[in-house]
Amino acid sequence: MDHVKPKFATAWLGGCSGCHMSFLDLDERLIDLAGLVDICYSPILDVKEFPEVDIVLVEGAVANEDHLKEIRRIRQRSKVLIAFGDCAVTGNVTAMRNLFSIEDVLNRAYRENSLVVSGVPLENGIIPKLLDRVLRIQDVVTVDHFLPGCPPSPDAIHDFVVELLAGNTPTAQGRKFGS
């Protein structure tokens, strides 16, 4: 029987990549997963443009204008979008800079704590403009499921994806983060 494997992607906005590392912590289960789904986009692949997919795990918060465009494109091209990890779900550490103004945050890093200042990275056409406030994914697009944790444990990720592939609604109950 010809079975078309679901198209599966992972993407990364403003975060530490720890959620992706926890995904890699599936270890040998990664090889099994590759048999169940077609992993067609991820930071560990050389595919440069986000394709049409069935399932996407999105790590990180929306922190700059590139992220904003990217999350909209991802939403448009994905059937099921999962906010993957605490930065995606709540903003978490990435959003802690919201307590300060952009100028203060940049000045601390690039003026006060630098010996030689030739410039502060702002709008020079190459690097993306930072948003005034870091946003949660749900502040920008509709999120279908939330998978919390800093990061979510490999078991939580595994169970979640398996449930989803079985056509069930994952609850993120049971083996939660921190366990």
Partner: protein
């Protein structure tokens, strides 16, 4: 002056970009690497208790969180002004070896081996770890399990694989007991075998990558790293040594706690990554490289038998120092061998299992510095607190940033060699552009750029004509 910007198809997985300047004839004049991610930890920690820093700063990076926990804990030790118990030191050392091991396994097996085993010119769609599974599943499985070993040590000792909250100012929070030793010891033979297998594979491939060894960033520079009192590899606590491109010692015995007296950072408007430099040489002449290649260049020996054997052979690949960026891969594998040997050794060290794991004190200083060797190089955390122990400022000197200029030069050299004059920019072959990324990948840059973010990286290549016109070419 016309400025043409062909915007990239929006992508995010690239948190960095490469720009290339062309001269009148269309030949490559220069190329540069830009980092486009910024999160502002140096500010957002303000007002928070310093005891919270290891947990917070861990979130700088999900790939090497243990190294940030360690640098942060050590800065905290200095704020308390205490000497911590031997058991805590040994636990921290063990964790850092496990950290370096798992991160290097990720870099070599998950991210770079597709370039090495499938080839720089392999179809982009297959050039990844899943493509490699189809070609050589047992190689991939061994790599995955090697990373798993490092992560498992971190989990067993620290309670959690990523962002373990087990260490803090004054020591660590939980004992390591002998019951958990056997599981770790059980992994040693397989881990040793896997690293040796990888070393064998890489060395066998070097001849077929002779052009890349020569042109993906082969240049003299300063190298900086930590060594112990015998001049051997050291990852937790030691002194800083700096050598030049011919192996001459430029500085020795430098105290990492006083890094700010000999290292400086420069900011430029083209990147979120700052440019660190060795102050006596000035900016930008004082740029230096860190990480596996630098550590093997500054250390006289490894201090463990198997890694020492490899290191002697390694040092013959250069004249005083090994300068080819491509050899970061080889250096990484030798370090992995060393880490497995050290983990094995520590399992036989009674101090590791000691009951006294924490020195208790209240705040005794207003300023503290902690450093260690993270997988990608020397890492410094510098904190200032008020009388209540609340953070007023932090400066983080991240390992990858110290390779910033090295990566610039590597990309520059690769662009000049592999992008030939006369090409109008539309016709770059995928493999050609992949080599620019491979130059960056040698450095395994972390954070914004890591996760194969690289393979993935930006490649927005930006061409700047002699008249200042720009066009961006987005890699498919």
């Amino acid at each position: 002056m016309t400025r043409i910007l062909i915007q990239p198809v929006t992508r995010i997985e690239g948190h960095a970009k490469i720009s290339i300047q062309l001269d009148q004839s269309g030949a490559v004049q220069s190329a540069k690497f830009h980092v486009v991610e910024f999160r502002g930890f140096e500010k957002l920690c303000e007002g928070r208790p310093f005891q919270e820093m290891p947990g917070l700063m861990s979130r700088v990076c999900g790939i090497c969180p243990v190294s940030h926990v360690l640098a942060s804990s050590k800065a905290g030790d200095m704020l308390l002004d205490v000497a911590i118990p031997p058991a805590a030191i040994k636990q921290r050392r063990l964790m850092n070896y496990a950290q370096v091991l798992q991160s290097h396994a990720l870099s070599f097996f998950h991210l770079s081996s597709p370039d090495l085993l499938l080839g720089m010119d392999a179809p982009a769609a297959d050039r990844n770890i899943f493509g490699l599974i189809k070609r050589d599943e047992s190689f991939v499985r061994r790599g995955i399990r090697l990373r798993q070993f490092g992560q498992r040590v971190i989990e067993v000792v620290g309670g959690k694989r990523i962002h373990p909250g087990w260490s803090g100012p004054g020591g660590v929070h939980q004992r390591f007991t002998t019951e958990r030793r056997d599981e770790i010891l059980g992994w040693i033979p397989e881990a040793t075998g896997s690293v040796l297998m990888a070393l064998d594979r890489l060395k066998g491939l070097l001849d077929s990558f002779a052009v890349e060894v020569e042109h993906l960033g082969n240049f003299p520079s300063l190298f900086l790293g930590t060594v112990n009192e015998d001049g051997q590899l050291e990852y937790y606590d030691g002194t800083i040594r700096i050598v030049d491109g011919r192996g001459n010692a430029i500085a020795e015995g430098l105290d990492p706690k006083r890094y700010f007296t000999y290292l400086g950072e420069a900011s430029e408007d083209d990147s979120f990554m700052k440019y660190p430099f060795y102050q006596p040489f000035g900016y930008p002449q004082g740029h230096y490289r860190v990480g596996p290649l630098a550590r093997l260049n500054v250390a006289k020996s490894a201090g463990t038998p198997q890694a020492d054997r490899e290191m002697r052979e390694f040092k013959q690949r250069g004249n005083g120092t090994v300068c080819a960026s491509f050899h970061y891969h080889l250096a990484r594998l030798i370090e992995m061998l060393h880490c497995v040997e050290r983990i094995d050794e520590l399992m036989a060290d009674a101090e590791l299992f000691g009951e006294n794991i924490k020195a208790k004190a209240s705040l005794n200083r207003r300023e503290g510095v902690g450093s260690c060797e993270a997988p990608r190089g020397t890492l410094f955390h510098h904190y200032w607190v008020d009388g209540e122990g609340r953070m007023t400022n932090a400066n983080l000197l991240i390992a990858t940033a110290q390779n910033k200029q090295g990566m610039n030069l590597a990309v520059d050299q690769a662009a000049r060699h592999f992008l030939k004059p006369g090409l109008n920019g539309d016709g770059f072959a995928d493999g050609m552009l992949n080599r620019l990324e491979a130059a960056i990948r040698c450095y395994d840059p972390c954070l914004s750029c890591s996760t194969h973010a690289l393979g993935q990286m930006p490649l927005v290549v930006e061409l700047i004509g002699e008249d200042g016109t720009r066009r961006q070419i987005v890699r498919e």
